[in-house]
């Protein structure tokens, strides 16, 4: 038998300096978070202050008017339209990215070739967007101009879609890999075919993760300016007698181009237009993300998570 332990409050009291490194680390990470919030907040406040006059005095006019040489009339309707169309085209190509992820994760054998493809996809996600612009110029503007109509919103949407694709493939692949093995085994054990397992169990379970990827993808698609510049987003256009489909193959612009164009004009008063267009872009990204988050929450709830 060993001696009876004597316990006093002092033995249990925290000793000073016990966790000094931990405290330092806590202060560091807290200030890092604070700094990040401060930066984002400062930029946000600065933009909103600059945009204030336009947002309060002629918000609907600003949203509903095309760009103009007249400060009092110029708006971003064409940019909103272009950005939404680009986002829509990007969304239409999401199944391709999700399909590629399903193939790579579920069907492809683990060979050097499939590993090479995986590594390549990861590297593509880090390629500067201007490179996708050049690719889009060569493939969608010049090569497929019969389909896209040349420097059009379709070409821009496809170029941005290709840019977003690696992000979609990677996040969808990670979501598929995170689906627990027991779920798959349970379905296989009941005599489901591979496709039935993927369709009824794996994809629904991976959907929330896949949606997270699509949110990132759409946000990136809406914010990209470099590829649009190369594809040829214009500063001003009119549509003449073109119908909707001809317009899709005609001149276009997008919100990032509106912002860039406003920022380049001489008069100080145009700064407010650039800031207001930035606010519109931010809100558009926010709205689309909100929709995705709501859809994600509903699916998660339905899956009982």
């Amino acid at each position: 038998m060993h001696e009876r332990q004597t316990v006093s409050l002092d033995t249990l009291r925290a000793r000073r300096g016990d966790d000094a490194a931990g405290h330092v680390f806590f202060v560091l990470i807290t200030s890092a978070v604070g700094l990040a919030f401060f930066m984002v907040g400062a930029v946000g406040v600065d933009v909103v202050v600059e945009a204030w006059d336009i947002l309060t005095e002629r918000l609907w006019d600003f949203l509903g008017s095309p760009s103009s040489a007249d400060e009092a009339k110029s708006g971003v309707s064409q940019g909103i339209r272009g950005s939404i169309l680009i986002a829509a085209i990007v969304i239409l190509t999401f199944p391709v990215g999700i399909g590629a992820a399903v193939y790579l994760e579920e069907y492809a054998d683990d060979t050097w070739l499939s590993r090479l493809i995986q590594v390549t996809v990861r590297n593509l996600a880090g390629v500067p967007s201007i490179v996708y612009g050049l690719l889009g110029l060569a493939v969608f503007v010049k090569g497929l101009d019969g389909l896209t109509g040349g420097r059009s919103v379709i070409a821009a949407g496809l170029a941005v879609a290709v840019l977003v694709l690696p992000v979609i493939i990677i996040t969808a692949g990670e979501a598929l890999r995170a689906v627990p093995t027991p779920l798959r085994e349970g379905a296989y054990g009941l005599g489901a075919t591979q496709w039935e397992v993927i369709r009824t169990q794996v994809l629904p379970a991976a959907l929330p993760g896949i949606l997270t990827g699509t949110v990132l993808g759409i946000a990136r698609a809406l914010g990209e300016a470099a590829p649009l510049l190369v594809i040829g987003a214009v500063g001003f256009y009119t549509t003449g007698n073109q119908d909707f489909f001809e317009q899709l193959r005609g001149a276009f612009t997008a919100l990032p181009m509106n912002i860039a164009n406003y920022a380049r004009l001489p008069a100080e008063t145009w700064r407010g237009h650039a800031a207001a267009a930035s606010v519109v872009l931010l809100i558009l990204v926010f709205l689309i993300n909100l929709v995705a988050i709501v859809v994600r929450a509903r699916i998660s709830k339905r899956l009982g998570r």
């Binding site: 760009s67 005609g250 001489p266």
Partner: protein
């Protein structure tokens, strides 16, 4: 029991429905925005109709074209295209301003029928046009002064000569971070002595016509002996120092100028005038030669060529389009009309002198192709 059970097929249908609804929402929003464009245009159409003097006797004009080229000329064309399209709703016209060089590339590839430039096309650009069988009509549009600016806080310098600018901004001035460093050069030709204060240089990047024009007029001017220096006794460079802060965005340049007390930089007159009015920049007087008359940049001095750093703005028209494309013809007609030309001054640039103006109009009227201006 049946009603307790949510059949999974209807769940699936609901998801599909949600996606379709979302896409429909996109289409709806873009449709609404699209209609807004037309409403705006239609509403302004009536008032605009009276302002335009394009011959419309042949009925409504239809067509589609893109105007590319200089970002300096962009505001002029933007205003002209806007007014023109209000009177000609059947024409789909678009305007971009990627730069004189980019515009030349698209123009000489035959991709755009109209391209603007803040300089004449270079020999190698003309060669591409020739190789592609593109004939062009070269129109002078207006004048842009290149203004040398500093911070409003700078009370040590009011006027600079070309030689001073060479000593501060040419490649020979690489590494100079104080105004007094330039004295090593000015002392060579017996020029002025600068005070010993920090030197920060801001200007447009190489892709800009303003960069080219400044190098050509000022630095090359000095190197070619146009300011009276002995170019036989000494080799002068023709290029700009690589170690200055460059930006394609003139407003970024102006911000840099305002941020340091003894900055120096150069931007187009339209931008400088706006910045001066806002108290963000001080426009320096410029003398071509040391000891020559110091001239302030104003509309008058630039138009009369008394201010020594000025450049002409040009528009290139594809000769084939000028003969066959009714929409392009109508637009250039408007562009060169008295009313259309007002856009030059309202965009902040300087109108051509009367003889030049008439000559440009006659070149267009007669569809004269090839180099027309010096």
């Amino acid at each position: 029991m049946q009603e307790l059970l949510p059949p999974s097929r209807s769940d699936r249908l609901r998801s599909v429905g949600l996606v379709i609804a979302l896409l429909g929402l996109f289409a709806l929003i873009s449709g609404l925005v699209d209609r807004d464009d037309k409403v705006t245009v239609a509403a302004q159409q009536q008032s605009a109709a009276s302002m335009n003097d394009v011959d419309r006797s042949t009925g409504p004009i239809e067509g589609e074209f893109l105007v590319s080229g200089s970002s300096t000329v962009y505001p002029i064309v933007l205003e002209q295209a806007e007014v023109f399209s209000q009177a000609n709703p059947g024409v789909a016209i678009s305007v971009e301003g990627p730069g004189s060089g980019d515009g030349a590339q698209k123009f000489c590839d035959g991709e755009v029928p109209i391209a603007n430039a803040s300089r004449l096309y270079k020999a190698e650009e003309i060669e591409i046009c020739d190789a592609n069988g593109i004939e062009y009509i070269e129109l002078r549009r207006g004048i842009d002064g290149i203004t040398v600016i500093t911070s409003p806080a700078n009370d040590l310098v009011d006027c600079v000569s070309f030689n001073d600018l060479y000593a501060l901004i040419s490649e020979e001035a690489s590494g100079f971070d104080r105004w007094a460093n330039a004295n090593a050069l000015t002392s060579v030709w017996g020029g002025r002595e600068f005070p010993d204060v920090a030197l920060d240089v801001y200007g447009p990047g190489e892709e800009s016509g303003t960069f080219d024009s400044f190098a050509e007029i000022v630095i090359e001017g000095v190197a070619k002996g146009k300011t009276g220096l002995d170019t036989d006794a000494r080799d002068f460079v023709t290029s700009i120092r690589p170690d200055y802060t460059s930006s394609p965005d003139d407003n970024v340049i102006l911000q840099g100028i305002g941020a340091s007390d003894y900055s120096i930089g150069w931007v187009g007159f339209a931008f400088a005038k706006e910045a001066e009015a806002a108290g963000a920049a001080k426009l320096l007087q410029v003398a071509k030669q040391d000891g020559g008359a110091c001239v302030s940049p104003t509309e008058e001095t630039i138009a009369s060529a008394a201010f020594p750093i000025a450049r002409y703005l040009y528009t290139y028209i594809n000769a084939d389009a000028a003969a066959n494309d009714s929409a392009v013809i109508a637009f250039v007609d408007y562009m060169m009309s008295e009313e259309g030309l007002q856009a030059v001054s309202s965009a902040g640039y300087i109108d051509l002198a009367e003889p030049d103006q008439r000559r440009a109009q006659s070149i267009w009227a007669n569809r004269v192709t090839g180099p027309a201006w010096e």
